[in-house]
């Protein structure tokens, strides 16, 4: 089953550990201990805090010892499955909701270390609630970092969200208080406070946050955490939590190749839900947090579910169905090929897609592969320079036809040849996947048209 393939990397290692296990019906304590060493390493390399790893391993060990080795599944995978489940459980349910105040405006306060991404996140959050039909107010309460106010103003302008600022010489507590007044008067809701980045051990700066909290009584105090944070995440989160009483966490910069183990540490220390994750530089790149996906990622198993979701969000279902039918009946034409390339392009840069595939991030030959938008234009031009007959039956395209198509599309004959070759390969692949896709569909899984 697909589920198992997803668990490849760590499962492979565990398989090595379990080689001698063949023939046994149950996992013994010694077997499990050996496996735990690998899991411990995987979690530490993912930046999960040492202490969190220790507690976690103990819990998993308890569950795994004596576990029946299921017939259909190898022991390594069985252990990974337990680990995955426990990790997911530890990260809590999906809770990407904002606590709204009974009496508007709701105040959302963003706090965190320098460079965690608070200002960018404030703008993303504003956009998110704006799309829900609300009228947010962004508040520039970072009076320390040079041009922080200007940064928020520029972002606000891009989003057409008002930005409340009083300049750099004003106490952030007064700014916060005045901004809530402003929101009340002009009907803005929520109020999103962008505070200055600060070290969790800087008492003066932490006291300032406490004073802001006191003054405006926020419904949400969200800790913005860089997903690349290492072991210190525990210290940072617990200090912020102790002094402010956090209500949630936003994990940023998860669009890179970090495994994001800090999330687990922060969650374990504060008990607060991870509400959103930042997945890119654009203001729409704030997404719902899925514990199971992050668990896969921490274990180095890629993010296949996100990939499928992305495909679903961007692919036209009707067209996909039609394409499936054609593949089954071997009617796949150059027109379909073009359509398919366009759909692929809608899913975003190929590098992002590859990043979600388990193991793909490490494959050297895949590095740097991208769908060149220019190439798509060429492809489109070439296909459109063909007659309907040629598009349906490319086999009839001989030398003189190629010359005509090349001239018509402003490309070279080599380009036409390359396209035809690509098409043939795609067709073969389609056929192959089409059959596989069918089988998967029977098992109630998603049709995957490419």
């Amino acid at each position: 089953m697909k589920q198992v393939a997803v668990f490849a990397s760590l499962a492979d290692k565990l398989q090595e550990t379990f080689k001698k296990l063949r023939g046994k019906g149950k996992l013994t304590e010694a077997d499990v201990t050996a496996a735990m060493r690998e899991i411990r390493l995987a979690l530490l390399e993912a930046d999960v805090n040492f202490k969190v790893v220790k507690d976690f391993i103990n819990r998993v060990k308890e569950r795994a010892v004596g576990q029946e080795v299921m017939a259909s599944i190898t022991p390594g995978q069985q252990v990974v499955k337990i680990v995955h489940e426990e990790l997911t459980a530890l990260m809590g349910g999906s809770e990407s909701k904002i606590n709204w105040a009974g009496q508007p405006p709701t105040v959302i306060m963003l706090v965190g270390l320098q460079g965690a991404g608070k200002t960018t996140t404030a703008a993303k959050l504003a956009r998110l609630v704006q799309n829900q039909g609300r009228r947010p107010l962004l508040v520039a309460a970072d009076v320390y970092r040079p041009a922080a106010i200007k940064q928020l103003q520029v972002l606000g302008e891009q989003l057409k969200v008002p930005v409340f600022s009083m300049g750099e010489g004003i106490n952030p507590v007064d700014i916060a208080r005045a901004s809530v007044e402003h929101a009340r008067k002009y009907g803005n809701n929520p109020v999103i406070l962008d505070t200055a980045g600060r070290l969790h051990i800087n008492e003066t700066m932490m006291a300032e946050l406490a004073a802001i909290k006191e003054a405006v009584n926020p419904q949400e105090i969200l800790l913005v955490v860089d997903a690349m944070t290492g072991q210190d995440a525990v210290q940072v989160a617990s200090n912020f939590h102790q002094q402010l009483g956090l209500t949630g966490v936003i994990l940023t910069k998860l669009d890179g190749d970090t495994r994001g183990g800090a999330a687990l540490s922060v969650r374990a220390v504060t008990g607060c839900p991870i509400k959103f994750i930042g997945m890119g530089e654009k203001t729409e790149a704030l997404e719902t947090f899925h514990p199971d996906r992050l668990a896969s990622r921490i274990l180095g198993m890629g993010d296949v579910l996100s990939l499928i979701e992305k495909a679903q969000a961007n692919l036209d279902v009707e067209k996909a169905k039609e394409l499936q039918r054609k593949i089954r009946q071997q009617e796949f034409t150059l027109e379909d090929f073009l359509e398919q390339m366009k759909q692929m392009k809608k899913m975003g840069p190929l590098e992002d897609i590859l990043g979600m595939l388990p193991g793909a991030g490490k494959m050297k030959q895949l590095k740097g592969i991208q769908i060149d938008p220019k190439e798509l234009v060429h492809t489109e031009a070439i296909i459109q320079s063909m007659t309907p007959e040629e598009r349906r039956n490319p086999a009839i395209i001989n030398g003189s036809r190629k010359k005509r198509i090349a001239a018509g599309s402003g490309t070279r004959v080599q380009d036409v040849n390359r396209l035809l070759r690509q098409f043939e390969e795609a067709k073969k692949l389609m056929h192959f996947l089409g059959e596989g896709g069918n089988k998967i569909k029977k098992k109630g899984r998603l049709p995957f048209p490419f």
């Binding site: 411990r40 390493l41 530490l44 390399e45 993912a46 930046d47 805090n49 040492f50 270390l113 320098q114 460079g115 965690a116 991404g117 960018t120 970092r145 040079p146 041009a147 922080a148 200007k150 940064q151 928020l152 103003q153 520029v154 972002l155 891009q158 070290l199 969790h200 051990i201 860089d226 690349m228 944070t229 290492g230 072991q231 210190d232 995440a233 210290q235 940072v236 910069k253 669009d255 890179g256 190749d257 970090t258 495994r259 183990g261 800090a262 530089e281 840069p349 590098e351 990043g355 991030g361 590095k367 740097g368 991208q370």
Partner: protein, 311 residues
């Protein structure tokens, strides 16, 4: 205040957690057994040294202990310091310079690492040395990045070359290099937009910036500095690797070392890639950027340990 005490102050929180634990371990252990070495490994891992590098380090200490027939846990402290300086190098790394000015520094890193702040501090430092500094605002992407650098340029008394938001960073760099030549500047500091190392397009843009520098000023850039947030965990290895592949990193600036983060991942980077740490950021003040002193760094990290000599 001497650099050593400044480093110690900056590292004090690190030491509170880290060296105290090592100290406790050394003082509290009566034998150098497996538990002792496991605990030592754990301490290193919590400093973000990374599981693999920690294991290797501990293994080397273990071998050394065996070889020299050391039985006193206290003697392990000095051994550790030697191993750490062995990885980081004994020498204080020098910043690259050009026989014919200007020297060109390209500053790169992920989002939020502290590139612009580092450049501000670096500009101030050069200015204090009586050098003429030009800043190139090649981060044309992030909102108000140019304004932020402008403030720093004002503080440091450096000149700033900037274009409109969204302009081609290569063009900014080109203009900055021309300006540097015409105005006989000693050093050009190029601030680039933060980018995650896995974004191929953005890394290509960085390569292009480097090509512009190489073309306009043969022999340049004289330093390619990767700015690394000390709170970063094992992803720093990927950063060091991919930024190096793209633009050839010559040194690391380890920022935000004034918090509780220990920046131990630079050990892994030095061990695996041989990229030296050249500067450390120890606070928010203009003069809080210091040269990285490996011996002092290691000593500061382990000072308070029995058996470790302070320089």
């Amino acid at each position: 205040m001497s650099l050593f005490s400044k480093l110690k102050e900056g590292l004090s929180k690190t030491r509170d957690n880290f060296t105290r634990r090592v100290g406790d371990l050394l003082a509290g252990s009566s034998r150098l057994d497996d538990d002792f070495f496991d605990e030592l490994e754990e301490i290193l891992v919590t400093a973000d040294v990374g599981a693999r590098t920690s294991m290797e380090l501990v293994e080397r200490v273990r071998q050394e202990v065996k070889k020299r027939r050391i039985t006193e846990p206290a003697a392990v402290g000095e051994l550790l310091r030697q191993e750490v300086t062995g990885i980081l190098g004994e020498e204080v790394p020098r910043l690259g310079w050009s026989p014919a000015p200007p020297a060109v520094y390209l500053v790169v890193g992920v989002n939020g690492a502290g590139k612009t702040t580092t450049i501000g501090k670096l500009a101030y430092r050069f200015q204090q040395e009586g050098k003429k500094v030009i800043l190139a605002a090649a981060d044309t992407f992030r909102a108000a990045a140019g304004e932020q650098l402008d403030v720093w340029a004002g503080r440091a008394g450096a000149e700033l070359i900037r274009h409109q938001a969204g302009a081609d960073p290569g063009a900014v760099v080109y203009d900055a290099l021309q300006a540097a030549r015409n105005r006989r500047a000693d050093v050009v500091l190029v601030d680039t937009a933060g980018r995650l190392q896995t974004k191929v397009n953005l890394m290509d843009e960085l390569k292009k910036i480097r090509r512009v520098i190489e073309r306009e000023m043969p022999g340049a850039p004289h330093e390619v500095l990767l700015v690394l947030d000390a709170t970063t965990g094992q992803n720093a290895l990927s950063q060091a690797k991919l930024f190096s592949e793209a633009v050839g990193v010559t040194g690391i600036v380890l920022t935000k070392l004034d918090g509780t983060a220990r920046g131990g991942v630079v050990l892994a980077i030095a061990a695996e890639m041989g990229i030296p740490v050249k500067l450390v950021g120890l606070g928010e003040g203009l003069d809080d950027l210091k040269e990285f002193q490996p011996r002092e760094f290691a000593a500061a990290l382990f000072s308070g340990l029995a058996g470790v000599k302070e320089e």
